[in-house]
């Protein structure tokens, strides 16, 4: 049986008519009891299970997923990874994530196709250029790579951009984070799932968590469509559905769920080799390895649990894209979709034990959950294993909403949500 992926195993399986490949993970029936249950089989949940086993030696773990793993926001994002934030707390968090991404393929023995092609955040006016300089300075002070580029430097990187005099979104310059880029989103979920499974983690799909089992005011398991499952501790990483889980556990969260849209064009030859964000239009675009232009926009500003987007926001994103790259008018859109994201007032995540002791939560990533998967998994695993905060997750606790110590990245780095 071939378990390890390598050039040699590909060669040997070629001689063996490809008969020796194993399933990447098992599909076991749930046991009666686990040390830890993780609710949600997206990137964050699977990474949590993996780091529980790897960093803390806790292998009696189940990941419980209502649908199929990686079928929610992990499979619906635009695959961008970056750590160009403003506040030191956020940079510590997102740069931990990027550093883990940088070695993830070899660590998981699974090619996540990380491509550090750089990300440009454009400035369309002199005032925006000043804000860009502030952003680049903040990133450098926080120890993250950032450079301020002039108009001419941007022109060299983006020859297809509309630099004409009539341009509605003229370029004055940009901030570039060269370590930013893209990673294959499905591979991140599948790689973590396979690596966690090899540690003995049970991945249980098509199983909905309906309620939490409480004993003496402490969470001690979950009621599911496959019966009751007990656990010492339960972690929740369900993004847009966090409020439903909280309601079942008897508390509320500072979260509103919105749809976030993306779309891809037909595949074309290589034309764009960086990630481009225009904060003015809310449009961001990169070219996938298959050649599709992957386009995202801002949030639909209407609370929603329906995984489809509304037209006005898609129109804004596409209009912005075509103003910036007129030649993309020739492209046909292939697919359009949306994911349900959990938006918090300060645009920063929540990592903490909940008001129900024994129940821990990882949520509130809003529009930026994919890039945070390795860090979100590491930190929720730390909380679940030790019952205490990691230094990096401490500022992101629920207590900040009553203490007032918000980490307002919407104001800090101009996130458009």
């Amino acid at each position: 049986m071939t378990r390890h992926y390598s050039a040699l195993s590909v060669f040997k399986e070629g001689l063996n008519s490809q008969k020796g490949w194993q399933k990447a993970w098992r599909s076991p029936e749930p046991k009666k009891r686990y040390d830890v249950i993780v609710v949600g089989g997206g990137g964050h949940g699977l990474a949590t299970a993996y780091y529980l086993a790897k960093n803390h030696g806790i292998r009696n773990v189940a990941v419980i997923e209502r649908g199929w793993i990686g079928g929610g926001n992990t499979g619906r994002n635009t695959t961008v990874v970056r750590s160009n934030y403003f506040f030191p707390q956020s940079v510590a968090l997102y740069d931990l994530s990027l550093k883990l991404f940088e070695k993830l393929s070899s660590e998981l023995n699974y090619n996540i196709m990380l491509s550090q092609r750089g990300m440009l955040s454009l400035a369309h006016s002199m005032p925006e250029m000043e804000m860009a300089a502030r952003s680049a300075n903040a990133m450098q002070i926080n120890g993250v790579d950032a450079e301020l580029l002039s108009r001419d430097q941007v022109r060299e990187l983006l020859p297809l951009y509309n630099f004409s005099k009539e341009s509605r979104y003229p370029v004055h310059g940009a901030v570039i984070q060269r370590r930013a880029g893209t990673a294959r989103h499905d591979a991140v979920a599948w790689g973590y799932a396979r690596a966690a499974d090899r540690f003995g983690v049970d991945i249980i799909q098509n199983c909905e968590v309906q309620d939490f089992i409480q004993n003496g005011g402490i969470c001690c398991g979950v009621r599911t469509t496959k019966g009751e499952i007990l656990a010492d501790r339960v972690g929740v990483a369900v993004a847009g559905h966090s409020s439903q889980m909280a309601e079942r556990a008897g508390f509320r969260l500072p979260v509103v769920s919105y749809a976030l849209q993306a779309c891809v064009s037909e595949p074309v030859k290589p034309a764009l080799d960086t990630v481009v964000l225009s904060p003015a239009t809310g449009t961001y675009v990169s070219q996938s390895d298959k050649g599709e232009m992957v386009v995202g926009g801002g949030l639909d500003r209407i609370p929603s649990y329906s995984q489809r987007g509304n037209l006005p926001v898609l129109e804004t994103a596409i209009a912005g894209l075509l103003e910036m790259f007129p030649s993309f008018r020739q492209l046909k859109l292939m697919r359009q979709w949306s994911g349900i994201v959990d938006v918090v007032p300060d645009s920063s995540p929540i990592l903490d034990e909940t008001p129900l002791p024994g129940l821990f939560i990882n949520c509130g990533w809003g529009t930026g959950g994919f890039k945070a998967i390795p860090a979100g998994g590491t930190l929720l695993a730390h909380l679940l294993a030790t019952g205490r905060h990691h230094d990096i997750s401490r500022p992101f606790g629920l207590d900040r909403f009553s203490s007032g110590r918000l980490i307002d990245e919407a104001a800090g780095s101009g996130i458009t949500h």
Partner: protein
């Protein structure tokens, strides 16, 4: 493009409306308001999946009103001015 019913202007494009939070989230007016109670008012939300009574502003006319809409199907059950029944 979905049409939302403004109680003052009639059916208008969704792009003209701004979401303003849960209906019935009343500002605490006791003398002593605890940090938790204040935080609950400011930040904690029901965020219902399904029928959800919520406050919206029609930005074109500037009026606030209650819109009852389903967050899963996006269907709208109705809207009413905040002066109708029970609001403060």
């Amino acid at each position: 493009m979905q049409l939302f019913p403004c109680p003052f202007c009639g059916p208008r494009s969704e792009a003209e409306f701004h979401f303003g939070g849960d209906a019935g989230n009343v500002r605490p007016d006791e003398d002593e308001v605890s940090a938790d109670r204040w935080s609950s008012y400011l930040y904690m939300r029901h965020n219902q999946k399904g029928m959800s009574p919520s406050i919206w502003m029609h930005m074109t006319c500037g009026e606030l009103f209650q819109l009852d809409r389903d967050t899963l199907t996006h269907s709208v059950a109705g809207s009413k001015a905040l002066t109708e029944g029970g609001h403060r």
